[in-house]
Symmetry: C2
Subunit: 231 residues, 2 copies
């Protein structure tokens, strides 16, 4: 038996908001591409493109991200689907938006396919953006700010080994608020999934601080037992 459905159909695209943390500049950044083609040729936009008929939206998001920016192996999560009727001058295009968290040092970015350029931009100094990509970014920032408080997402933005100062700076940058150092350390060290590596940071002028790592397996075990992460 076959089911026909002959009404007009929208196109379906994916777009990715990739966050990176620049600890030297105390800055949260987003990866943008400069569009090669119309509409918005030479304008800045989120990496993304049309979903193919034989792939899921998740697969499309990872494929477009790799094709246009070279970025692979990031934490990626669906954000929200944007469906305003006039959001794309090409006609009806629904965009399934994702956000990703990248370790800045891991990724050598390079523009390709539909992108003539790719660059990290501070969320405080974004260029004018194509389509409704500013609204997508605003939604992603809001989600990130909400979620870092109750899920151990932040570690995805840090190098595998980090100091407690770096961890605190991460939260201060993302949440845009100062945290009390003593309270922060007390709270974070009470979380047993933060493991002292026994190592210290290298090549610093000040007294070398201890390096910690996030033990995901331990976290998942605690979460199963009812532990609620909270910053």
């Amino acid at each position: 038996m076959s089911y026909t459905y002959d009404y007009p159909r929208p196109s379906v695209a994916v777009d990715c908001v990739v966050f990176g943390l620049d600890l030297d500049e105390d800055d949260l950044e987003i990866l943008l591409i400069q569009r090669l083609k119309d509409p918005f040729a030479h304008g800045w936009a989120l990496p993304g493109g049309f979903m193919q008929m034989d792939e899921t939206a998740d697969t499309a998001a990872r494929r477009e991200l790799e094709e246009e920016t070279g970025v692979t192996d990031v934490y990626l999560e669906q954000l929200y689907t944007f469906s305003d009727v006039a959001r794309d001058p090409r006609g009806r295009v629904v965009s399934i938006a994702y956000y990703a968290l990248a370790k800045l040092s891991d990724h050598r970015i390079r523009a390709a396919t539909d992108a003539e350029n790719v660059a990290w931009y501070s969320i405080r100094k974004l260029p004018r953006l194509a389509f409704d990509h500013k609204a997508i970014i605003d939604t992603a920032i809001e989600r990130l700010r909400g979620k870092v408080r109750y899920a151990p997402l932040g570690f995805e933005l840090l190098p595998p080994k980090f100091t407690l100062s770096q961890l605190q700076r991460l939260y201060e940058i993302v949440l845009e608020q100062q945290l009390d150092k003593r309270n922060f350390r007390k709270k974070i060290l009470s979380m047993e999934f933060l493991v002292d590596t026994g190592e210290h940071e290298q090549g610093v002028a000040h007294r070398a601080a201890r390096l910690y790592r996030f033990d995901r397996r331990k976290y998942l075990k605690l979460a199963k037992q009812g532990f609620n992460f909270g910053i």
Copy 2:
């Protein structure tokens, strides 16, 4: 200038997981429809249908919900977009899923258009479901359980005036765990957006309890000042 895009396109549908709380039965329920047409004719499914070209996904979700079940004026929020390649036997259909919270007493449900029947089902006794609707429901339950802890969503499931016992039962039913009565009352009464109406419940055999209401304006003001809701 026109931009042509001639690749094949998926169909885009919306589906709604409507939650209702049955305080008499201590039960969390979901509104299901029985399908009139193939595929899955006479099978139970979520209310939903295809998005039209001149409406957003939000509009489509509210329209389908009203058309198929008669339910209007509910708290509605986008949940997740489901895009498995083989999720619909009619071909490629992407579904933008929503979840809604209904005050059970407000809604007289009635089946219409593509639904031959509509009914509330306990989440503990769901029938066999069409498409990937079981997976959509599982995602919605997980979202609801997570979000009632850090956002004042639960009030959407209660009558406008409620006792503290009802409020506690709400959390116990949704979270599937017992809460300590003294701690719960202390925590909830410290939240200044819970307002004593001065009224008491009517027609009960036991001592009539005070009725409270949720003051959304006060909550939003406190949230702006940095207050974090937490159960």
